[in-house]
Assembly symmetry: C2
Homo-oligomer: 166 residues x 2
């Protein structure tokens, strides 16, 4: 945030700031996912990443609709949290040679991303309701449900690994 932070005086400002934070985060995720898709050697994991990349484009479009409903320009603001999460994902996936271990590390990194998004969209839905903007909250809730489903899919894949190991 930095330079814009002094503008946060009301819940409307905070809502808008958080929208810009997650807008930036989604755009970073769109940049990071192709590398994760390229590295994943498990076919179900690769498919889960590909389908999430498609979904992420839709989530960005949905955020643009929310900015539009608020009469605000769609723009991002620095989000050190997602930068850190993606940095960690890149570091670990660059340094694991074994396929099985790499797939596990990639899936875990993706779940950290999903949980960041679940937390941010959960907050945005609550604040949208608090501000009586059900039009915005409804769109944000659609994305929240997609993020939860994406996280559950990764948990299912981890459980399948476990059953195969057993």
């Amino acid at each position: 945030m930095g330079i814009f932070s002094a503008d946060i005086e009301t819940m409307d400002d905070l809502f808008l700031h958080q929208l810009r934070d997650i807008y930036y985060a989604e755009k970073q995720i769109v940049k990071a996912l192709p590398d994760m898709i390229a590295k994943a050697t498990s076919e179900p994991l690769r498919q889960a990443f590909e389908s999430h990349l498609d979904e992420t484009h839709g989530q960005i479009a949905r955020l643009e609709q929310v900015f539009d409903l608020l009469g605000q320009e769609a723009s991002g603001t620095d989000c050190p949290a997602i930068d850190g999460i993606i940095e960690e994902a890149n570091e670990i996936s660059s340094d694991v040679a074994d396929d099985n271990v790499l797939n596990a590390a990639l899936a875990a990194a993706a779940q950290a991303v999903e949980h960041y998004e679940i937390s941010r969209y959960g907050t945005l839905v609550a604040w949208g309701q608090e501000l009586d903007r059900e039009d915005c909250a409804r769109l944000l809730r659609e994305t929240l449900e997609e993020e939860k489903a994406a996280d559950r899919k990764l948990t299912d894949l981890a459980e399948e690994r476990l059953n195969q190991a057993a």
Copy 2:
């Protein structure tokens, strides 16, 4: 990770690396929470942070038990993800003057922290089971349940705000 990353060859290495990541993260959270407690003006929020600070000390002790069970030294490794999440929490909470808006921002920041932990402990429990270390998985599962309860508590507080606003 950086310098240690070349050591990740097996699932055991990855498990240990992730333990060191969350051990570092918990220690950073212990450093960050007193500032959040000092800034919170909502009494229920302050109490939720204080109780989570107590819990975090217990979670660190539990991680030390896990290191001990594995015959490994308890040590942390850099975790850019938690650094980014805490940096964002500090930035936003430094720049909001209104009490109500500040409490909302602090609660949202804490939920981002909780979700990072939920994702990491969820992964650690799954990997502990995969590696047939139910002794470790059991301890990690206890912390996972505490993190989920802490997140639910913050969601409940946000819903109370909403009902008050309605």
